[in-house]
Point group: C2
Chain length 316, copies 2
Amino acid sequence: MNVEEARIGRLRALFAQGAARAGRDVEVDIGDDAAVLAPSLGRDVLSVDAHVEGVHFRRAWLTMRELGTRAATAALSDLAAMGAEPRAVLLSLALPAEVDEDQLDALALGVRDACDEVGARVIGGNLARASELSIHTTVLGRMSETPLTRRGALAGHGVYVTGTLGAAALGLAALVEGRTDPALAPFVTRWRRPRARISEGRRLVEIASAAIDVSDGLALDLARLADASGVGLELDLVELPTERDFASAAALLGRDPVALALRGGEDYELAFTAPESIALARLATRIGVVVPQRGLRATGSGGAAIAVAGFDHFGR
Amino acid sequence: MNVEEARIGRLRALFAQGAARAGRDVEVDIGDDAAVLAPSLGRDVLSVDAHVEGVHFRRAWLTMRELGTRAATAALSDLAAMGAEPRAVLLSLALPAEVDEDQLDALALGVRDACDEVGARVIGGNLARASELSIHTTVLGRMSETPLTRRGALAGHGVYVTGTLGAAALGLAALVEGRTDPALAPFVTRWRRPRARISEGRRLVEIASAAIDVSDGLALDLARLADASGVGLELDLVELPTERDFASAAALLGRDPVALALRGGEDYELAFTAPESIALARLATRIGVVVPQRGLRATGSGGAAIAVAGFDHFGR
């Protein structure tokens, strides 16, 4: 057995110990030319996401296990945004020679952690040599309902976001600057260990008129949603939900907390629009309203509407 | 619109001009968080394959369009081996800064060529910056029948292979050595422009007892099939199918044509086993027989059985 086959055999065993519920679906597992899933009703929902060393992460910033979880979570988050139920994951790894068996196992365990969390399973993959480490994660989801998309926001609907914003971006800023202040540690953890909002996405299928996952920053992602829906959004910046002590932690790095919440990426929260009448208090925070005039505008504590700089080109 | 969004928009338009039949299946296309396919009966068949610069290719060896076709074909070939019908493709591209818009378009056109050939469509993808060019292709197939796998070969069955062997490996050797002899040109073309044996795979579903695609060389891939099936294989090396003038072209590079046919990779032919009684003359060449004793052995022109060196560790 050559090295690659030994690695594939070990990864197969590792992933087979994942969520049992997901495994029942697998007719042909890792180790043949392709994986096969049992017939089932519903729509296939598919997405792929990549984590490339030096672009999306540095190895010094997180453990290999955290890296695996992050890479898989970023891909699974796209299924959350559609309201799909995760089913299977395929993993294409480009590995530098110095990534040893223990590191590969840790990376795979991290991917399995993310999959177990949402009931999915890694059913296939590819190992390739490379000079830089990269992780390309394909996710397959399933849903019988009509999927949520970025289109469908209607004037008068509310704008909502799950969880809190800016924490991961603040944590990343601390890592980039090499800061180890205890007050920043919870935010570093938020960057290292994101979660995909799968159960929230499932609930939103019957509620939301449009949705997107917040991966590139709330302002940019909401501008995409508004553009796809052909509407505008007015956000109340005072309402942006953030973690306790977020503002003081941001101040340690000289960062504006509102700017972090608005533009910081990798939150993996869901931003969505829905009729105002629906009670969403436990699921999300209301942060604005859909308006007919295209573009993304914000009101701050002063109350005056301003174009969200850098994104008003969506407002033509 | 930022550069990445402009690129995604252009790629979406390019892929939408692909096979119309494949497009009817797409409920949500490139441009949302995930793609959605219409509900349909049958099993999902999934695989992912990677092409990494400096490992699988050098840019000087082929055009970007050929590179796109090669990358997609290598992945689609895994669906052929299972007997699945290709349905959709997802493309994760890691792009160095010097890959310009024209080169990206050419790469995408090559992927579309391969997809059109088999009735599939690119429905999603990801673009990431990177220092080396790599292409990670996920393929989704569909089938209602029981899939072909590497397991199932029975003693007494014949061993078969579609098409011819060694041509791509000879072409690659010519590229590596920088040889431009006219006699080698057809083989270089074979390396540059492989085809996935999708229609052959579909026919084999009802015929073959086990199958694999020949990507890493006939000997290694057949050893995998034999190992998975718990049997041995005896090959008649005299019967290995090769192109006209293959032996004389191999001699130009000082290569043994039988070794190239047996160990040269990237043929993307299908090797399979099937009951002897079935007429397969038009579909494949009979190259050996399945035997109970594990391992891969070969008889040459001399007629004496020899272990195929390097793979007898499968015969324990």
